[in-house]
Amino acid sequence: MSLSAPDLEDPQDTYTLNMGPQHPSTHGVLRLKLTLRGERVIAVEPVIGYSHRAHEKMAETRTYAQFLPNTSRQDYLSGLIYNLAWVEAVEKLASIPVPERALVARVILAEFNRISSHLLWVGAFLADLGAVTPFLYTFDDREAIVGLLETVTGSRLTYCTGRFGGLSKDLDADFPRRAREVLVRLRARWPELEGLIEDNVIFRQRTMGVGVMTEEQCRHWGVTGPVLRASGVPYDVRKMEPYGAYPRYAFTIPTRPEGDVFARYMVRIAEMEQSCRIIEQALDGLPEGPILQEGSIGVKKRLKPPAGTLYYAVESARGAYGIVLTSEGGTEPYRAKFRTPSYANLAALQDMMPGSMVADAVAILGSLDVVMPEIDR
C-alpha cells in the first residue's frame, strides 16, 4: 500500500467510517466520522451533542446555590475542581471573603481530584491501546483517593462540598495523617507505572511520533492543558493567573517538546507528582480556624451579587476552565457560560488526526483526555 501523501482529488478512493457514539474507545458519547483511504485517516469530523444537558440554561433559572450540583456534573472527573471554581467565581463577583483554612483545604482537595482524574486517564488510555493491566492498578489507587475525599465531602464522584465563603464540612483532625498515607502509596506507584508502561516497547512504538501538535496549531485551536504542555508551552492557569492559595506553593509546570502522544502521557505522569508536592506543602501549612466564613449564607438564603460580568479561570485536569458569569443583581445569574478545555482540545483533533492510521486514531483521541459532558454541557 503506497504511503505517499493522500490524493484528495480522487474521492472514489475514500471510505467513510463511523466511530461511535457507542464505542468502547470514544470515552463517552462521541461520534467521529472518519474519511479513510485504506488504513489512513484523511479527514475526521467529530459529531457532538449526545451529552447535552442544558447546563447554561439551567444556570439562568436557578439561584447561585441551586446550581451547585450541576457544576460537578459538567466534568465529573475533575468534579471537585469545577465545583470549587463556581463557588470561587461567585465569591469574587459578590466579594465574599474566604477563611485561610478553607483556601488551603480547597487546594488539597483540588489536587487530589486532579491526581484521581489523571489516574483514571492512564488506565483508560492504556486500555484503548490494548493493555488492560494498568486499568486495574490505577483504579485501585484512585479508590484510595476517592475514599479519602469521601470522608471529607461525602461524595465519590460528583462533589458538592463548596459553599460561598468556604467548604461545607471541615477536614477532621485525622485527615492529614490519612492524606499522607495516600501520598506514600501513590509515590510508591510511580516507579511501578514507569516499569510497566513507559519501558514497554509496544507502548513506545504506538505513541512516539503519533499525533504531533505544534505550538502554532495549539494556538489556532485554543488548546490548553496537558496537550498544550506536551507541545512545549508552559501555560498553566495556576501559574499564569493564580487563584486561591496556589501562589504559596512551589511546583513546576512539566512540559515536553515533542508534542506527540507519548509526550502527553509523560506530562500527565509528571503532573501527578507535582500535585503530590503541592498537597504535601499544603498539609504542612494547614492553618487552624473556621472552614466557612462567619455569616455565610450557606445554601439557605438567596445571594444577590452586584451587576457585572466576571471571567474566572482555573486549571482543571484537562486544561483551562473558564466561567463567564453575568449578574444583573438578581438571585439567579443572568448568563453563565462555561469555557471548557475539552471543547477546544477535541476540535483540534481535526488538525491532529489526518495522516495517521486508524489504529493511531484511537491513541490520539485517547491522549486528548476529553470528557464529553463538558464539551456538550
Binding site: Q22, R53, A54, L120
Partner: protein, 176 residues
Amino acid sequence: MGVTLPDRQLDELAEEASPFVRLAMVEDVLNLARANSLWPLTFGLACCAIEMMAVGMAKYDLDRFGAAVFRPSPRQADLMILAGTISRKMAPVIKTLWDQMPEPKWSIAMGGCTISGGPFKYPGEYAISEGAEKFMRVDVHIPGCPPRPEALIAGILRLEEKIKQGRRGGAGEQNG
C-alpha cells in the same frame, strides 16, 4: 428418555437423589444460567459510567457475579446498563442499540437520570429524555446520583433474582 412419572414419585425421587442430582424445568435451568453469566454492553453515557467502571475493577469486582464480560457490540451482549443521562439526541441511538441486542435481553437503569431525568429535569427542559422508560423497557432501576458501586452490584443481583424467577420489565409485566 420418554418416561413420565407421577408428580409424587418425582418429588420422592428428587429428594432421594439430591444433593447430587437436581431436577428442574428446562426454563428454570436456562434462567439460572442466564442470570449467572450476564454480558453487559460497554455503554457509558455520563457520570454513572465511572461508577460502572469502578464496579468492574478490582475493589468491587463484578466478575465474581459472572457479570463483568463487557462486550462492545450489542449483538454479543444481553444486558444494557444505561449509565448516565439520556439526551434527546442520544435516545434514538440507544433505541437502535436496544433493538440490535438479541433476546433474551435485560436492561438496568442506573442513576436518577435514567429513571426520571435526575437533576436535569425541570419544567421546560428541552435537552433530555426524562427516563429510559420513555422509549424502552427497563427491568431494574437503581437510584442515586451516581449510585455507589455497591448499589450497582445490588441492582445486578436484584436483576439476577428477577431473571431466575422468569420475570421481565416492570411490576405489571410478569411474562418470562
